[in-house]
């Protein structure tokens, strides 16, 4: 079974591994200790101290606060909301709902037609990172992408203690 060190996981996060190295990682049986290693590497990379409970998306983490709250937090330090809520509702949004706005991203014939579909871009209010993009018809409820069961994951699946603030 494959085993990796922090350096390799950091390179994976950085996107600097060669294809043959990625291929080897894809073809090998998964390393069970990956999550802990990954979480520790990510914790070292962020500037704040709240323990990461779960990486939630590119730039986004569910973190443990000292008062017991679990918060969705951007790596820039911006805190969105409780992890049970949809962080997108606390973001900034730009909706591409005209041909002109679509044409900024795609040639006209290659973009969605706004009469059928719009593109919603969700930005971090602090660092302006584009955190998610939805391509949906007008009126579509904002999608709550992921509701993790963190307690079951730690206690029953990986059998590790939850990080404490």
């Amino acid at each position: 079974m494959a085993k990796y060190d922090k350096k390799r996981i950091n390179e994976l996060i950085e996107g600097t591994l060669e294809f043959y190295q990625l291929k080897e990682m894809m073809s090998s049986h998964k390393d069970p200790e990956r999550f802990e290693l990954y979480r520790e590497v990510l914790q070292d990379r962020v500037s704040w101290d709240d323990p990461i409970l779960l990486p939630y998306g590119l730039h986004l983490y569910i973190v443990q606060k000292a008062n017991g709250d679990r918060i969705v937090k951007c790596d820039c330090g911006h805190e969105f909301c409780d992890y049970k809520e949809n962080w997108k509702l606390h973001a900034r949004i730009f909706v591409r709902d005209t041909e002109e706005k679509m044409n900024e991203i795609y040639p006209k014939l290659m973009s969605p037609d706004p009469e059928w579909q719009v593109i919603r871009e969700y930005y971090c209010p602090n660092c302006a990172a584009q955190l998610e993009v939805e391509a949906v018809p007008p009126w579509y409820p904002i999608i709550l992408d992921f509701e993790p069961d963190i307690d079951t994951f730690y206690k029953e699946w990986i059998k590790k203690p939850l990080p404490k603030a």
Binding site: R34, W116, Q130, V136
Partner: protein, 759 residues
């Protein structure tokens, strides 16, 4: 008194195990598996645990043999779809039709052929027409659980000393099955009766010989007879190879060991799947949705099919505490008068195709995984029609879109656990399909469906770009085929193949690019062409800040002056339509009719010599914020023509210096430009909650196009849960509602309607 048929049937020896009928075996298997949670009630695996080497040896023999059967048999075929693209698959089943091992190829048919065998068992084929050693059965009936009419199954029972010990099944994607339009996935059918020649689990041969009436009828019912005939020989050859293999294994290992093995290998598959879920995923819920346009309002179709609407497929993946995987499609909208409907078996089987490329990337694909999962398939939806009249000839159109977001959902778990190498932002919508038929360049009645679609762009991962022009969700062995072979088989000359800049979704890692080919009509008579692709909608989102892949359009020119231009040595349209905002095809030809529009699904139009048609194969979605892409990668994309200059500048925020047509990125200026773009983002965006109030007002005023309102009206009519969630999210009052009947569009066939049922 003379004996009745019933008396005869009762005295006939059952062909199942221990004197049981296959029907009894099927029911017992269902009951015990459900009751115990283990396939066949196997709480332990005594054979595997006591003699693991022998167990694995049998597995390897069967798996290797089934793959070998596919590789050998496909050489019998003449169809480029089978022989070049590998659009075939073989599988070995238990007597009750649970899959034991399967070959490579279009493994969606693990489920569909199983459904056909189950149909025969359920309908007492054992009594009539009888299931005997050396019989041959054929099925391609969509409503039995097939994917679409062109997927033709050959099914052969395997007997050992009077008992059925299994079934061999083979499927090929046949080029034409006699639908109302030529090609294997035609546009034009809107009802089952347009879908072509459908064979419902029919006995077509005995004593290993095809019946003459079958050969005559079937070959008179399809257009491309030579492909049909050789495809059938391919399937029979493969099935007979598998039958011989199984009988050899039984001779060597003993029938009791074989019987124990086939039970344990499926339970082993179930356990393996559960283990993979626990290894790779995170318990919880994952939500996503896909949309496909149906722009049928102006097509040449029956009046009840002429409307614009959208196929809506929301999905919720639940990874339960015990690692059971559940996928619920509640909220999906209604089936319709289009050829994109599907069956529950085809959507769930297709999910296994996808999972075999990500969550369970091994060769233990069998029905064990099916027993470890659960699906919610709304009755009356486009993938579970409540009316046998539904058409299915181009079901992939909607299926591909429905599956891709599931991969995106799973990727959130891979991302959370650190398996970044497994993340995939989604898949290309494998289209446009380029189809046609008539008398080909050899004077033969023929048909075509370009399988260049098997090489679309792959979605980006969290660590690298998606692979360009390389793969299709439905067949992991993607191959665009050689132009020279296509030209031999189709009356269309290539005017080039070219990567389409910007077709992969932008992102920190971009989606794999798609490409285009341009074809010139040559040598056919009475030939028609049409395309089938997603047009005005992106069929998937990007992931974590990446953009969706570009959506679709068509280009076709009829009655051109290309013949004269060739005679005069003038330039011709060549290669791809690389920047449709600044088209150049038209600079190099004149034509009486030019279709350059968003109508990416079309119906048959006559197509003659020197007419031109473009095939556009889509890219994959992107991952991450494009402003975080390494500027040197953007530079490389620009110089290698994977992206256009203006998008390299405005989407990726890069600044370049150009010299002799070669671009070099200015890193410092790029950093400044990216800062400026981020600033602009904050300036022109607004808080989501503020925007929601504006959007709510539009909803209250019913301010949306007819197709959008129709999509919601259908989902509202089928699903109370979706309606409640919609209203709850937007804080919409109870009395607000959109009804299909109020939209002034055809509603023929709209049976299930919870509003009317309430009344």
């Amino acid at each position: 008194m003379a004996k009745t048929i019933k008396d005869h049937q009762q005295t006939k020896k059952a062909i199942g195990w221990d004197g049981k009928t296959l029907k009894q075996m099927r029911r017992e298997m269902n009951d015990i598996s459900k009751e115990t949670g283990h396939y066949a009630g196997l709480r332990t695996l005594p054979f595997k645990e006591t003699d693991p080497i022998r167990f694995e040896k049998i597995y390897s023999k069967l798996r290797g043999g089934v793959v070998h059967a596919r590789e050998t048999a496909k050489k019998v075929a003449a169809s480029p779809i089978v022989e070049q693209e590998g659009e075939l698959c073989f599988s070995l089943y238990t007597p009750e039709a649970d899959s034991i091992v399967t070959s490579t190829g279009i493994i969606i048919h693990v489920g569909t052929m199983g459904a056909a065998i189950k149909f025969m068992i359920e309908n007492d084929y054992e009594d009539n027409p009888g299931i005997n050693d050396k019989d041959i059965f054929c099925n391609n009936d969509n409503h039995v659980g097939n994917v679409h009419t062109c997927d033709v199954h050959t099914l052969v029972p395997i007997f050992w000393e009077g008992e059925v010990v299994g079934w061999a099944g083979g499927v090929t994607h046949v080029i034409d099955t006699g639908a109302s339009a030529p090609g294997s996935m035609p546009m034009g059918p809107v009802q089952r009766y347009d879908d072509g020649y459908q064979v419902t689990c029919r006995k077509i041969g005995q004593n290993d010989t095809l019946s003459k009436d079958w050969i005559l009828e079937s070959t008179r019912s399809v257009r491309a007879v030579k492909y049909w005939t050789l495809d059938e020989k391919t399937r029979i050859a493969g099935c007979h190879m598998i039958r011989d293999l199984v009988l050899d294994v039984i001779k060597e290992e003993g029938v009791d060991n074989y019987k124990q093995f086939i039970r344990e290998i499926i339970e082993d598959g179930r356990r393996g799947f559960v283990n993979q879920v626990k290894t790779m995923l995170i318990p919880g819920k994952y939500r996503q949705a896909s949309f496909v346009d149906i722009p049928f309002k102006d097509l040449d179709l029956p009046s009840f099919a002429k409307l614009n609407t959208i196929i809506h497929t929301p999905s919720e993946i639940t990874v339960h505490k015990d690692a059971k995987l559940e996928i619920d499609f509640e909220g999906a909208n209604r089936w319709g008068w289009h050829p994109f409907n599907a069956t529950p078996v085809s959507i769930t089987s297709g999910i296994w195709v996808m999972l075999s490329q990500t969550l369970v990337p091994n060769d233990r694909i069998n029905d064990g995984a099916y027993y470890a999962s659960k699906f919610g398939i709304p009755y009356g939806s486009w993938f579970n029609p409540d009316d046998i009249r539904s058409a299915h000839s181009n079901t992939w159109h909607a299926l591909v879109a429905a599956w891709s977001p599931l991969w995106r959902g799973l990727s959130r778990a891979y991302f959370g656990r650190g398996y970044l190498e497994e993340v995939n932002a989604g898949n290309a919508h494998t289209s446009n399909w380029l189809m046609g038929g008539g008398y080909d360049q050899y004077g033969q009645l023929s048909a075509m469906n370009s399988f260049e679609t098997s090489s679309c762009g792959v979605g980006a991962s969290a660590v690298q770009d998606g692979i360009s022009h390389s793969a299709a969700l439905w067949n992991p062995e993607g191959d665009m085929g050689d132009m020279e072979i296509w030209e031999l088989l189709e009356p269309l000359i290539f005017l080039g193949r070219q990567i389409l800049p910007g077709s992969g979704g932008a992102g920190k890692y971009r989606g794999g690019n798609g490409w285009q080919s341009l074809r010139l009509g040559w040598g056919a008579k009475e030939w028609t062409m049409f395309v089938a692709g997603a047009g005005v909608m992106a069929t998937d989102c990007g992931l974590m800040g990446g953009y969706p892949a570009s959506s679709g359009y068509r280009f076709q020119a009829n009655k051109t002056n290309i013949k004269e231009r060739i005679a005069k040595g003038l330039p011709l349209p060549l290669g791809g339509d690389v920047d449709p905002d600044n088209p150049i095809y038209e600079d190099n030809m004149e034509a009486e009719v030019i279709h350059r529009d968003r109508q990416a699904v079309s119906t048959q139009e006559q197509f003659g010599d020197y007419d031109v048609i473009m095939n556009y194969l889509r890219g994959g979605p992107g991952f991450g914020d494009p402003l975080e892409r390494n500027p040197k990668q953007v530079e490389s994309d620009l110089n290698e023509k994977y992206i256009l200059l203006r998008y390299a500048e405005q989407v990726y925020g890069c600044v370049f210096v150009e010299e002799n047509g070669v671009y070099t990125v200015d890193l410092k200026a790029t950093e400044e430009k990216r800062k400026e773009i981020r600033k602009q983002r904050l300036e022109r965006s607004q808080p989501v909650k503020e925007w929601m109030q504006e959007e709510r007002t539009k909803i209250m005023n019913e301010d949306a196009s007819i197709q959008v309102r129709h999509m919601y009206a259908q989902s509202f009519a089928l699903s109370e849960k979706f309606t409640d969630e919609f209203k709850d999210f937007w804080n919409i009052p109870e009395e607000w509602m959109i009804y299909e009947d109020d939209l002034g569009v055809p509603t023929l066939g709209a049976h299930i309607n919870r509003f009317k049922q309430k009344k």
